[in-house]
């Protein structure tokens, strides 16, 4: 049997303990151990950004973080973006600007865009493209995603 450990972390604002295999990435733990499947696997080697989450406010690829590393950390996934007041401006802008087609990259783009706007509330188009270059989208050609992020920045 493989080695397991109990990990304590704050996930989307809620304190949580979960059992992780010592080989689990944070992505695997979120999806298969905790049941938070909004975070997506696209490549499992840090090249597509579909698994983007915030760890203590910092943008990370959850496939490149071991589950054990989040002990004591504060993790935000796409499921933690909306508030009691409803969708955040980024989510609303993605809907209004038709910034998603299949939607598989959308959780990663929303989390990465949130990290961008937290760090730089008024990015230029170039800054938004530069920041989001770690997230691949194959459906949209990025046009409407960039427009949505710039629109949310104005909100």
């Amino acid at each position: 049997m493989t080695d397991r450990m109990i990990v304590s972390a704050t996930i989307n604002g809620e304190p949580l303990e979960f059992l992780a295999d010592q080989r689990d990435s944070l992505l695997e733990a979120l999806r298969e151990r905790i049941g938070l499947t909004g975070t997506k696997e696209g490549c499992n080697d840090g090249n597509c950004g579909a698994c983007s989450v915030l760890m203590d406010g910092r943008l990370v690829n959850s496939c490149l973080v071991m589950a054990a590393e989040v002990e004591g950390a504060d993790v935000t996934t796409v499921e933690g973006l909306a508030t009691e007041d409803g969708l955040i401006p980024l989510q609303q802008a993605f809907l209004e600007e038709a910034a998603l087609q299949c939607g598989i990259c959308t959780p990663g783009f929303l989390v990465a865009s949130k990290a961008l706007l937290d760090a730089n509330p008024n990015p230029t188009e170039y800054e938004a493209r530069y920041w989001l270059a770690g997230n691949l989208c194959r459906c949209t050609g990025y046009d409407k995603i960039i427009r949505a992020v710039l629109k949310a920045a104005e909100a």
Partner: protein, 767 residues
């Protein structure tokens, strides 16, 4: 043929409502195939071949089976062995059941690196991975065939001893077996119009060039997945992110040799497909392992496996020769295409051949094509399959002809533009098309008329064509008492088709898009619906929704007549409700849709509309693109400065998603043009099987993509819809190649035009 409804005078069509499934997709709630979870679920993993070509001498799974946590291991031999009967695989194409099974799990031979050899189910994903290392496979390694022209050689190693050449005259339908000897050439296609030799004699200018393209992958961000539960009563339920749930049902039932009624495909979201998620890879493995273990089994594919063993589109070798008179009139063309099929026959060579010259009137044409197997993955459909390659070659030559004749490239194209009534070299005659209209919009666009200044900068244009298809779709629409309609569909929604189909139902009933609740349902809950592909879903799904709404309208007229106690034919449905004759006091009788919906339960019961349409009248799509590039002569890198895409959509139902399809197609075309390639070692190993090394465009590689939607309504659809999804991938590569030529005078005739390929041309030859 149906009459197009009052074009342009729409309430819902042409607006931009928020898609119905949007909230689920921005909150992480939407359920994709890999999100499937069930109590006791096992995790599946696949052992893949390290060799491109080898005979499997033996497979020993005993050590893997003995590992604690492993519940099952299967190989090809565990499947019921098929005969050579043909199986429907979507878009009218068929394959043999034997080839399909052998591609799912290799039979006697492995035919490409990454070919599946065995599958494991275990209680934990890591245990399943460990188990793969314990499976012992003994291979007799054979010489691989990696170059398509070498594969055609008589002395090349042969992949399939039984394969003989079949001669065909069209991409659709069977042909004649003409070959006598084992070969790698699966198909030869030829068609002629007029007399090409005489046409070249008439020409003042003749340009003949050679081109190659490499395999390129669809690159969906979601890897393949497939989960299944085999119930004790023998019923199989499948969760798979697929473009066609009915196809997955039919193919899986075929491989397991059970009736289709024994298989249900649940609707799950799909994270991109572009043609690559029509076939099956994992679903039969999950079903068979679930049968063996009694547990639900989930498979997900690694990115490496996605690149090595699924998709891609064909690499090609092509020659194109075009002749024209000094006034720019085309006299003749010869197109010679060799397409890689991958390990089993079935490249999109036929479609490529039929599309190659499609935007033009070519009086004398000779088109030849070859479908050739070699030790690379079995190709899958990829957005306008075959057209990006063949039209890249033709549009590059057209540009050179215009240049030699010192004609404006758009004037040259307009002079030869195919119009209504023109006959394509393969014999098809066009109905109402928007080819000239698209060319005119390109020519008069702000982009085309603007000045482009600066060193190493250039502008290119290219046209694109794709057939689009219609085929079968169903819809079931249920009127609710609150005046809304629940709409059940069988089409996977890859890019907003719940919305675009619901909008056509709403338009027909005169209600709002928000009052329609579209949902994708399982294969037992709606009529047969073909794959989401061929740019057909908004066309055919929308038509089924229209017919469902007309069914509701007829029933509502009958119901209103009964409520008012008037003759049936005195009631008509218009402007979002029923209208009848004036009552005794002279007051007009009318009820809105909502008012009547509220009275249905008490007046005889609720109303449902349903429809099944099967159309062969899809409207062809034309696109014209303009691109400005800047070439860095130091690094060979090509930057896209400005991009404009013009396209005839027929009618744009939801313009935002039409624009999105165009922009997405452009991005994939740019990737195909500049960076994406399959890079194989001579021994057949794929050297760039990660998204770091298989380089798709990022947000930083592209500018905003300007779109101009032209609307020449398709007379073969109630709302004039043509398909929009595929054609935008066609023009980018030739437009960029033509722009590079304009910038630095260099004609690039091999894709991709990567920095490496550019530098090989730009740097002085040091011998």
């Amino acid at each position: 043929m149906v009459a197009t409804e009052k074009p342009g005078n729409y309430q819902v069509v042409g607006t931009r409502p928020i898609r119905h499934d949007g909230t689920d997709k921005v909150t992480g709630r939407a359920g994709y195939g890999a999100d499937y979870q069930a109590a006791g679920m096992l995790f599946g993993r696949v052992l893949r071949s390290p060799h491109a070509h080898a005979r499997i001498k033996s497979i020993d799974t005993s050590k893997a089976e003995a590992l604690e946590g492993v519940r099952g291991v299967i190989t090809n031999a565990d499947f019921p062995q098929p005969d050579d009967s043909q199986v429907e695989i979507g878009e009218g194409a068929t394959t043999s059941a034997r080839w399909m099974l052998d591609n799912v799990l290799a039979g006697e031979k492995v035919l490409y690196t990454g070919h599946a050899v065995a599958a494991v189910a275990a209680t934990d994903p890591h245990i399943a991975e460990d188990a793969l290392d314990l499976i012992e496979v003994e291979y007799e390694v054979l010489e691989p065939v990696m170059d398509v022209r070498e594969a055609m050689d008589e002395n090349a190693p042969v992949l399939h001893d039984f394969l003989r050449t079949e001669q065909i005259a069209s991409a659709f339908g069977p042909g004649d077996m003409v070959g006598q000897k084992p070969t790698n050439v699966a198909k030869y296609l030829e068609f002629k119009a007029g007399d090409a030799d005489a046409g070249f004699e008439e020409a003042d200018v003749v340009v003949e060039r050679e081109f190659t393209t490499t395999m390129a992958h669809q690159g969906y961000i979601e890897p393949h997945n497939g989960s299944a539960f085999y119930n004790r009563d023998g019923h199989i339920t499948i969760w798979s992110s697929t473009q066609g749930a009915f196809g997955v049902r039919d193919m899986t039932a075929g491989l397991l040799q059970v009736p289709v009624s024994q298989v249900t495909c649940e609707p799950v979201e799909i994270g991109g497909g572009f043609g690559g998620k029509i076939g099956i890879y994992l679903e039969p493995l999950a079903a068979l392992l679930s049968k063996q273990t009694g547990k639900p089994v989930k498979f997900t594919m690694t990115r490496q496996a996605v690149l090595e063993a699924t998709g891609p589109t064909s690499g090609t070798y092509m020659r194109v020769k075009v002749g024209a008179k000094n006034d720019g009139t085309l006299t003749a063309a010869h197109v010679y295409l060799v397409f890689e099929a991958g390990a089993y026959p079935g490249s999109p060579m036929g479609a490529g051949a039929m599309c190659a010259l499609a935007p033009y009137q070519v009086p004398n044409a000779h088109v030849e094509g070859y479908d050739v197997v070699l030790n690379k993955p079995k190709v899958a459909a990829y957005r306008a399959p075959g057209a990006p390659a063949s039209e890249y070659a033709v549009e590059s030559v057209m540009d050179e002809v215009a240049q030699q004749l010192e004609l404006d490239p758009m004037d040259f194209r307009l002079k030869n533009a195919a119009v209504e009534g023109s006959r394509r070299p393969d014999g098809a005659v066009y109905g109402v098309i928007g080819n000239e209209e698209v060319m005119e919009v390109v020519k008069s666009s702000d982009h085309y008329r603007s000045e482009l200044q600066g060193e190493n900068r250039g502008r290119g244009v290219a046209m694109g064509f794709w057939f689009n298809v219609g085929m079968e779709s169903s819809a079931y629409a249920s009127v609710q008492a609150d005046g809304t309609v629940s709409l059940s569909l069988g089409s996977a929604d890859i890019g907003g088709t719940r919305a675009s189909i619901a909008m056509q139902l709403a338009e027909t009933l005169g209600i709002s898009a928000e009052d329609v609740k579209p949902q994708v349902v399982d294969t037992d809950s709606v009529g047969y619906t073909m794959v989401t592909g061929g740019s057909r879903t908004t066309f055919a799904g929308g038509w089924a929704a229209y017919e469902s709404a007309m069914d509701i309208r007829r029933q509502m007229e009958e119901r209103a007549a009964a409520i008012w106690d008037v003759d049936r034919d005195q009631v008509s449905y218009s402007d979002g409700g029923v209208n009848g004759p004036a009552d005794d006091d002279g007051n007009a009788r009318s009820m809105t849709f909502k008012e009547l919906a509220g009275q249905l339960a008490g007046s005889g019961g609720m109303i449902q509309g349903r429809a099944d349409v099967n159309s062969m009248e899809a409207g062809p799509a034309f696109a014209g693109h303009i691109v400005d590039v800047e070439v860095d002569p130091e690094t060979g890198k090509v930057d896209i400065l400005r991009y404009t895409a013009v396209q005839d959509a027929g009618t744009a139902i939801h313009p935002s998603y039409v624009e999105g399809q165009i922009q997405g197609g452009v991005a994939q075309g740019v990737g195909m043009a500049l960076t994406e390639e399959y890079f194989y070692a001579p021994d057949g190993r794929l050297l760039n099987s990660s998204l770091l090394d298989y380089r798709m465009p990022t947000a930083l590689d592209l500018p905003m993509i300007e779109t101009h939607i032209v609307e020449v309504p398709n007379p073969g659809h109630p709302y004039g819809v043509r398909g929009v999804g595929e054609v935008p991938i066609v023009p980018p590569a030739p437009a960029i190649a033509n722009a590079i030529a304009d910038a630095i005078g260099l004609r690039m005739r091999d894709l991709p035009m990567s920095p490496r390929a550019m530098l090989e041309e730009l740097l002085p030859d040091e011998g």
